[in-house]
Symmetry: C2
């Protein structure tokens, strides 16, 4: 937790917050803070700054000064075939820490149906992972996550408008073209499931203007691939 994220309900005065629960526990046990210490804070959706610890017992009280903009967002819309539950949390926290602000989790032929029933796909878990990502990167702006259970409906009816005006890429290990570098325009990036998209799915994506691109011959886990592609693109 490199930043303590604050919400409207935390404020007990204009520049004073009172925290309990997970954030209190973390500040006590990991930061091992004491009265008089200063911690990095940020208000959800707003500025970041510093919080002076004025009280730390059953609750944590901070006098906060919020005057620094959060880091700039990545101009990237990420469309991810739902990863298996074991990696979903890391992927969501990871891409949030990298500054992605719009995420679609979609179905694909090689996404196992059982993945959609995992408790990790529930809103409360997806929110928790995004908060971890923001706290990691000292960001305050929560990415949106939308889920789409029908690949074809999503790709044909929604994705053209989502990707309009952006560089539209689909990561595909076998693609003859390597992913571009240091792009300056917004990007819509589609990442397939483990095992990749099937041919018909690739055809659907290329039909609406997506270009298959590779990042080398290696098969990477989703969380590794996404970070490597983002490092390359931006």
């Amino acid at each position: 937790m490199n930043l303590i994220l604050l919400f409207p309900d935390d404020f007990i005065a204009e520049s004073r917050v009172q925290l309990t629960g997970r954030r209190l526990t973390h500040v006590k046990s990991v930061h091992r803070a004491k009265v008089g210490d200063t911690l990095t804070v940020g208000v959800a959706g707003g500025k970041t700054g510093r919080g002076l610890v004025t009280c730390l017992d059953d609750a944590l009280e901070l006098d906060v000064m919020l005057d620094v903009d959060p880091p700039p967002p990545l101009p990237l819309t990420l469309v991810l075939a739902l990863p298996r539950p074991k990696v979903l949390n890391r992927v969501i926290a990871g891409v949030t820490s990298l500054g992605v602000k719009r995420i679609f989790l979609i179905n694909a032929w090689r996404v196992e149906k059982s993945y959609w029933k995992s408790p990790r796909t529930r809103d409360d878990n997806l929110l928790a992972q995004r908060l971890l990502g923001l706290e990691q990167a000292r960001d305050t702006v929560l990415p949106t996550i939308e889920t789409r259970r029908f690949f074809r409906t999503f790709v044909e009816d929604e994705l053209p408008a989502i990707a309009a005006g952006t560089l539209s890429l689909v990561a595909h290990p076998a693609a003859p073209m390597q992913a571009p570098r240091a792009v300056t325009q917004p990007v819509t990036l589609v990442i397939g499931p483990e095992g990749g998209f099937i041919e018909q799915e690739l055809v659907s994506l290329t039909a609406i203007g997506f270009t298959p691109v590779a990042i080398g011959p290696r098969i990477l886990r989703t969380e590794t691939a996404v970070a490597a592609v983002i490092g390359r693109l931006f």
Copy 2:
């Protein structure tokens, strides 16, 4: 497991292997293979190819054909301040999957002493994580991992020779220079602990020719940072 890694002891004839244990279980429960199926295999340190399942009960027997080179290695030596145990496994498996072949795990001021006592730093665990990384990326060439408990001795006595003739970089979020892109020469990359190197450590590194470079204003987890930097560099 996108590739089943084979070792000399697995061979019961020139092109036939017999496997038990983890690999057998994985092929049965995840691949759900049956006799007559073909699986991707590779011999440790050597070529990759295909294995035809000829028997699958208490043991898995494969007739193998090994005729494909593994993916090329990354020309990168990675020097990592020992990450906390919770992330160590993912970092090692992740950088192995990305093709790193030489890894040093070193001490630094902000590496907590307790990290070195974690069972995850034991050779057997570090080997297991590297094997997972190779299996993920269909690679066969095991990276070396060396540990160094004394930062200064390592940096002053060993690192100059390790980094000789390479582009020598230390990742540092506050550096004024951004990490280079698409480099064509070998790189030695030093990555600090959570919380970063202390000033004196940075001075030691710059004194032997390392250049501090940033990859944006965000504080990233080690596994995310390493993948993003590698995606950018290569």
